[in-house]
């Protein structure tokens, strides 16, 4: 092998690509990292360099009535959204992966289409709709709005988790005399439960952090955390927002960590 003797040429493309990777990943991470950093700031304002570290803004978050209320409201919306969209989305994903039938592509398109539409359009069309059917300003309307995005999320996550699952084991169970319900609970569910659990987490964070739809559908007493952050940012940059935001970031990162552990990062990035 003469390759070893030949002087190695500098791989300029490789270096350029490497630098771009660091820059782009650094770019998308920088707002998240800076928030976590300033949330521990001890000064009255956010000034660099930070005066010192403290938990005072977390304390302020807990002591503040409004922030506590919007945090609770976010949970009140996110939990039902998670339960409903996991039910609807996981069933759809199971059917989509298991069966070959006429209209399969149409079903896929129908479930996914709200995901591809700008949030503001979903927000305002639902606002006009819930006015008409008398659900304006209710938690239900926000849950339904969020489900439009949470169902496609679950649909994708469960599909990703189901790749490699062999549906013929269900037929085997049926042949051996198990009824459809027994088969589902004894065979299907244990096999897909990690995928379904991951989907639950992701539908939760989809709803918990959603802004565009919530802005149009919430009333002052049902306002969620992202809407309140939006309101605050319009007038002042209060350091409490950094603490609130860090709580949301930690929620998201934990969900991803659990998901990565359960179904693997490769599958999660192929949705």
């Amino acid at each position: 092998m003469l390759g070893g003797i030949k002087k190695k040429k500098i791989d300029w493309i490789g270096i350029f690509f490497g630098v771009m990777t660091v820059m782009v990943l650094g770019f998308i991470l920088s707002p998240i990292l800076i928030i976590v950093l300033v949330s521990f700031n001890s000064g009255d304002y956010i000034v660099f360099p930070l005066e010192g570290l403290s938990l005072r803004w977390y304390r302020a978050f807990i002591d503040n009535y409004i922030w506590r209320m919007v945090f609770k409201n976010s949970l009140i919306v996110a939990v039902p959204t998670m339960l409903f969209s996991t039910f609807a989305g996981a069933l759809a994903a199971l059917g989509y992966m298991k069966y070959r039938f006429r209209g399969r592509n149409a079903v896929n398109l129908m479930v996914m289409v709200p995901f591809l539409v700008p949030g503001i359009i979903i927000g305002i069309s639902l606002l006009m709709f819930v006015h008409k059917i008398g659900l304006a300003g209710t938690v239900t309307s926000v849950v339904l709005g969020h489900s439009l995005w949470a169902i496609p999320t679950v649909f994708l996550v469960v599909q990703a988790a189901l790749t490699g699952y062999d549906f013929s084991v269900e037929d085997a169970a049926r042949d051996l005399g198990a009824g459809p319900i027994k088969t589902f609970f004894l065979i299907t569910l244990p096999c897909i439960r990690t995928g379904v659990f991951t989907a639950m987490l992701f539908s939760f964070i989809t709803s918990f952090g959603e802004f565009n739809i919530a802005l149009f559908l919430t009333a002052p007493d049902t306002m969620t955390m992202p809407v309140q952050i939006w309101n605050s940012l319009k007038y002042e940059v209060n350091p409490i927002i950094a603490a609130v935001s860090t709580v949301m970031i930690v929620t998201t990162v934990s969900a991803i960590a659990v998901g990565a552990r359960l179904i693997g990062i490769q599958k999660m990035s192929h949705m």
């Binding site: 493309i13 782009v24 991470l29 707002p31 539409v117 700008p118 490769q266």
Partner: protein
Amino acid sequence: MFDFYRKRKIYLIFLPALLTVFFFFFLPILQLLRISFYQYTGMGTFNPAFSFAGYAKFFSDPYYIRIILYTIKIALIVTFISLFAGYPVAYTIVKASGLKKIICLLLIIVPLWTNLIVRIYGWYIILGKNGFINILLLRLGVIDQPLPMLFKSFSVIIGLLDVVFPWVLLILISVLEGMDWSMIEAARDLGASRWKSFYEVTFKLSIPGVAVAGLFAFVWAMGEYAVPSLLGATGKRTISIEVGDQILSVLNWPFGASIAFSLLMISFSVLFLSNYLTRLGDQYKQA
């Protein structure tokens, strides 16, 4: 007979998802379309009518044409930057292996799922007058006045790039991973230089996929509301800002609906084009 019964039952499994989409997506969109033809009678009131006035105003008034052009301009800039900067990154990640690859994918997935309002707040802290970058540059003596970076087209582009980058990267990664790498090796074996084999084979084969990523980026950037409303300049408005204002402050629902429906039609035609390109790409791969 049993088979037929079974097949009919298959559709039941989709019922909860499809009913939700039907009642709370398709019906509201239809109602939006209907309201877009209503006649505005002032002070938040309107009459059922069949008038194209909203659409005519939106597509002929120079004020709104400027808004449309500005929105398209910003979305195009964001699309091109995200593709040019994203491609090398996706390529590097596809070529990486083991822990390095997993970490890179994680670093894309975390921002993707982190709520957007929070990330916009991060840009306030980074780009603000007393923000991270200004203080850093002042301390280093590069500038002696803080640079105005917030509430400009610049900050809108930064914010939109932050929105589209994770999506563009994941689409490009899946495009590059789906490619037939043996062809690139063949080109190398036949004596093509590294650059030439990359450009002639890898890049040219991935063009349909890159176009799909670009169209998605464009649609996202055009329809985004939170970024221009929080990071944008007051004088330079985008289509979605105009929709939000008509609905929330002016209370001219018919006109807001006309603008929103126009935006939806633009998004759909772009996505339709992307679907067409995907199919074209599949044929291209088979040939």
